[in-house]
Amino acid sequence: MPQEQWTLRRSLSGESVSYGIQRGIRFQILSDEDLDRIHWGTLHILEKVGVQVDSPTCRKLLKENGCETDEKSRSAKIPSHLVEEALRKKKSAITLAARNPKYDARLDMNHSYMCANGNGAVAIDFETGERRNSTKKDLVDSTTICDALPNVHVHWPMVSSTDMPPSVVHLHDLEASLNHTEKHVMYETGVTLQDAKDLTAMGYAAAGGEKEYRRRPITSCLQCTYAPLQHDAGVMDASLEFARSGVPLVFFCMPQPGATGPASMVGSVVVGNAEVLSALVMTQLSTPGAAVIYGLGIAPLDMKTTVRAGGSPEHAICSAMGTEMAHYYDMPSCVGVSGTAKEPGIQAAIETYTGCVGPLLAGADLMCGIGLLEDSSCLHLEQVVIDDEIVGAIARLIRGEWACDDTLALDIIEKVGIGNNYLAQKHTMQYLKTDHFMPTLMDRRSEDNWSKTGKKSMKDAAREKTKKILAEHKVPPLSDDVNRNLAAIIDQAKKPLWGGESKVQ
């Protein structure tokens, strides 16, 4: 029996089932030879084509460490030995600590964790149904819901507080998140050096100081690389600052097959892999041992509608391959899912299911992207609740089955004998708790009962559950002291975004 199943069995029979999704089944898309070919192909591209590095600081760092750089094209060619060195220095297990330690997400390649999508700019008003720009209130509500849901393990501010002053929207996003969930908070808004400093300061303040934060980082930052083969200046300068400050990073590549990457999925994985590895090289040169998670969210551009095909089978297969690449490098993965549906319903459910099941079966460590529609743009609170249920079902699907004395149940089969039933067995009650998925939204009642109570749809059920959570779920806020510190940081960062001053230094 594989080690992870033994661990799992122990945790299932014991009192404490650990946090996250238990994983007992794994399917494999790429063979060992495929993985090798992608790896060598990537090294070839990094040496021959290189990457564009817009940050002068990062170019200097690469040049000093033996890369051939060109100031005019801002490119750098990265020799293989630097990649190998970075892979030796990197961390293999990363814990995304939570304000409440029971929610710690241990990315140790034996668990999967789910995270909702982040930073949409539009929301459907829960009361009026109106589609409008998102507000801080939307963020508070969606954070509260994510805190309550059992299958959302790490939190990403789902929308932007567009009703706040533009220069500090991201800081309000973090403040509202920290106050309304006890789960780990990952953001993706550290796009300049100053943003990185402000967001880090808020993380330190919420954790109770730098020392405590470095021991238990309760926030992290996801950074996008810029396909094909580019690194934005602000994003990379911020990344090095995060690494220095002990903030875990995800480098998330997003080539769109056919547009900003080759139309073949594997070709786009090569482009994305080159981006992630080159970002890893810069980070490990600057801060050896920095916590970096391998991120990938590759979805093709739909060539008829020109919308990114989030939640497509290709998206799922790429996220699965991204996980396999990450594990090939002995790194935890963070991979994407999303959906292009415009409203909660059949299309949205198919997209979430397709998008999640592939990567989770392949062993994704952290998956982000449920809950927003219109490809990561629009928040529907009901969809967050529906997606939580979908992930619950998938979690059961991938947990794994095994034959041991207890599951074989020969003694029970003998005891019950021929023609009787198992309803009155303790074994039944015991396994009901661990082995039978209990839906909260899916309606399994008879047609008769369903008709009598108004023939409610799953979306209706989700709406009721959402209302109940919003009315009843209480999250302990941060202390007044901490909140004063956070407010001071936000206040200091506020600047008039009018008159041409740049956010990028």
Binding site: A121, N133, V169, Q256, T306, V504
Partner: protein
């Protein structure tokens, strides 16, 4: 002469990117009016391609390859246009993604759609400073200034351009777009037009020059 211009038109429709420049050279060598070749060959060809894409008959790469073919032929034909004459277009559009924003795919699609529908498009690229937008508007005197912003943090940059533009170059109209931009927001910052996708961008542009 008729026949070779038809061949040029078909070369755009069949996106013969590699060979269309040779065909354009032949046209120049034969002494055919380059303006006729542009208007009856290239413009007609790209119009057909644009329409097919609009109807969902062809895929995006086919549209882009059609536009690339047109560009390759224009590079040969335009320098041959006699001084003082110019090709007819629906109007001139200056486009770019605003400062601190590097999202380019949507902006590029809008450019392609506009040029395949008869507009002359000057693309300033991504992360374009407000000052540069304003400078180019003054220099190039376009009919339309089009701006793309994909993030809530960079959306305000568009207003920052529109306000001074209205004073400095009131004749230049503005179109804004990008995922987080809404109709309401566009009105708030004083943009003349807003559209949620690339074909809508063409309708908006036509409305502004029409």
């Amino acid at each position: 002469m008729e026949e070779i211009v038809t061949r040029l038109k078909n070369a755009v429709i069949n996106y013969e990117m590699e060979t269309i420049a040779d065909l354009a050279k032949q046209i120049v060598d034969q002494g055919i009016d380059p303006l006729v070749a542009i208007e009856e060959g290239l413009a007609e060809g790209i119009k057909t391609v644009g329409e097919k894409f609009g109807k969902g008959e062809i895929f995006l790469p086919e549209l882009v390859m059609g536009a690339e073919s047109m560009k390759a032929a224009l590079a040969v034909l335009e320098p041959a246009v006699p001084q003082g004459q110019a090709r007819k277009t629906l109007g001139k559009v200056v486009i770019g993604t605003v400062q601190d924003d590097i999202h380019e795919i949507g902006k590029n699609l809008v450019s392609t759609m506009l040029s395949s529908n008869g507009f002359e498009v000057i693309d300033l690229g991504v992360n374009v400073q407000a000052a540069d937008f304003l400078k180019k508007a003054g220099e190039l005197k376009p009919n339309i200034l089009a701006m793309s912003a994909l993030m809530t943090t960079t959306m305000p940059r568009m207003g920052e351009i529109i306000t001074p533009l209205k004073k400095e170059n009131p004749s230049v109209k503005t179109i804004v777009g990008g995922a987080p931009v809404t109709d309401v927001y566009a009105k708030e910052i004083g943009a003349d037009e807003y559209s949620g996708d690339a074909s809508g961008a063409v309708d908006s542009a036509k409305k502004l020059v029409g």
